[in-house]
Symmetry: C2
Subunit: 334 residues, 2 copies
């Protein structure tokens, strides 16, 4: 279990510890002969550098901390992929932690990440108060993904939720729909800009908006639809706040005898793997998740390298993915 140290490698290769250090860091000022000897000794002993000792001695870290608010959400998996790709390519490691969407747990997770003195910290949709983020930003570089902030010391990467919903509304209008309802995300992250985007888009088309209050779950989507069914003036299309909500809505519509998309069109948001299932085949709005991660990593690394001090605010363009749950409205145009 005891791993060899640099000293062991040095002794075996017949050189000094400092020389081994130079070889391990790929310094050019080492003779080929000694380099070969060191690498051979290292190979024989199965030596690999001790990351913690290295970072302690160099007073620099090659670690980026990532706090994922919810590991269960596949959304974050792709963001992490993007982060991972860029970090790895630049010689940084990721250490990931999870907060489980609870402010208290998230705070602990943050604390624990900071105790590793990471070069930077990426917080994916954190729920901690702004003050906690500020205090983290005093200690290391911080980038926020899927959460906005006015703090001048942190970078942010978000999608333009308003624009995304706008795409959905435009699509429906171009198919001929005029009575388009929105099932909103209540207090959920990004629900507000999506709702505003809906209202703006409807106004732009001179249409009457209709917002049903809902949430980011399939049960909530079904409930909102049942409320809609109980009232007059059934819409011909629904724009949900996310994919789960949309699937719940579809389910309730089918239970009530509506066919999707023949009788009513439904659009989701997020383009989760669920939406892509042929059984579901949901028209939805895609966020460039991988790009979120890449940009977040790049923002962090720019700060780490001291290339930039002013905050950067990325606002990415979502795109519409048309599948099988949208179609022109049938008959009765009014």
């Amino acid at each position: 279990m005891a791993r060899p140290t640099m000293e062991d490698v040095a002794a075996r290769a017949g050189v000094s510890r400092a020389l081994v250090s130079l070889v391990m860091r790929g310094s050019p000022k080492v003779s080929d002969q000694r380099r070969a000897a060191v690498l051979e000794a290292a190979g024989e002993l199965g030596y690999s550098p001790h990351a913690m000792a290295r970072s302690l001695a160099s007073r620099t870290s090659h670690v980026l901390g990532v706090m994922v608010s919810d590991l269960h959400n596949a959304f974050f998996a792709e963001v992490v992929d993007g982060l991972d790709a860029v970090a790895r390519e630049q010689g940084f490691e990721l250490i990931i932690n999870t907060g489980g969407r609870s402010p208290a747990r998230e705070r602990k997770a943050l604390e624990s990440l900071l105790s590793f003195r990471p070069a930077g910290l990426a917080l994916l949709s954190p729920v901690v108060p702004s003050a906690a983020i500020k205090s983290a930003a005093d200690q290391t570089s911080v980038v926020l993904v899927a959460r906005s902030s006015r703090l001048s010391t942190v970078d942010t990467v978000n999608d333009d939720g308003g624009r995304g919903i706008g795409l959905a509304v435009d699509h429906l209008v171009s198919l001929g729909h005029r009575r388009i309802a929105h099932l909103d995300g209540g207090e959920g992250t990004q629900a507000a800009p999506r709702r505003r985007g809906y209202l703006t888009a409807m106004a732009a088309h001179g249409l009457e908006p209709r917002v049903m209050s809902s949430e980011y779950t399939d049960a909530a989507g079904a409930k909102a639809v049942r409320e809609l069914l109980g009232r007059s003036g059934m819409p011909t299309a629904i724009v949900s706040c996310n994919d789960f909500n949309a699937v719940g809505a579809i389910s309730a519509l089918e239970d009530a005898g509506y066919r999707v998309p023949q009788d009513i069109s439904v659009v989701g948001y997020d383009n989760t793997s669920l939406a892509a299932l042929r059984h579901v085949s949901l028209t939805t709005v895609d966020q460039p998740r991988n790009e979120f991660g890449r940009l977040a990593a790049e923002a962090l690394l720019q700060r780490v390298r001291g290339e930039r001090a002013e905050p950067v605010r990325h606002l990415l363009h979502p795109s519409l993915v048309v599948r099988g749950t949208t179609a022109p409205p049938t008959t009765s145009p009014r």
Copy 2:
């Protein structure tokens, strides 16, 4: 950005650095008066211990490394939750890494986790060759989740896939089904024990088995069903290798005019969040994922504390979750 050190706290509190260390580690042999002074100074400076320096000096680590083969799979999220809960409770931190189901990337991920000299390593469904696992096990304690191994130095936590499929078959038989087909998982992880479980269960009931070769995706499930449709002797029930496959199968069945569960029953495996959607409502087999994580963490910590040297092999019992895709067969019992 520069964080205070123990020395700073000691100076401010008017004590020695060693005393601050004792306070930080919660030692009982510190007078209340000094303890208070130290904690106050630490609070004022916003001090928190440097995890890396600590682990370097103590030659012990409070870090457990976790390699997740695929972050996109929600299965692992719950395993990580279980690991996290137990680790946190015992004062350990998790550092997570991902291998993206590629042996080469996974190997690098392993290397990078090892460079932190973690107290233990949990590998979730790794795809690297056994030799790589053995070499990791030479350096630290290792537990494998959702992958078996004969290595005497590693612990394993798995579900009894054969038994899980057996539960599904028993359920269908008790409903009155006799023509039950299995869509298998091909080369996928755990596909073999599930297939064997199917054959065993069918034999136990004196029924004729029928295995359609398939894969762990919804497209593959649909394809297998279309092949089934082209032949004679349509089964009255299908046991899929996983939930995605089952959803694809249902979709193809409905396209062909079959109603589920009236005309044909379908059972999945894994109890993913997909299965729980009311729109899907899939009868499926649940694996105790959180329990996987808890047991893995406990196995690791036992080894870390030197309480056990012999390997432990956990084989957990899956359970059946009955939802809306199974029902007694209609008429024509033959």
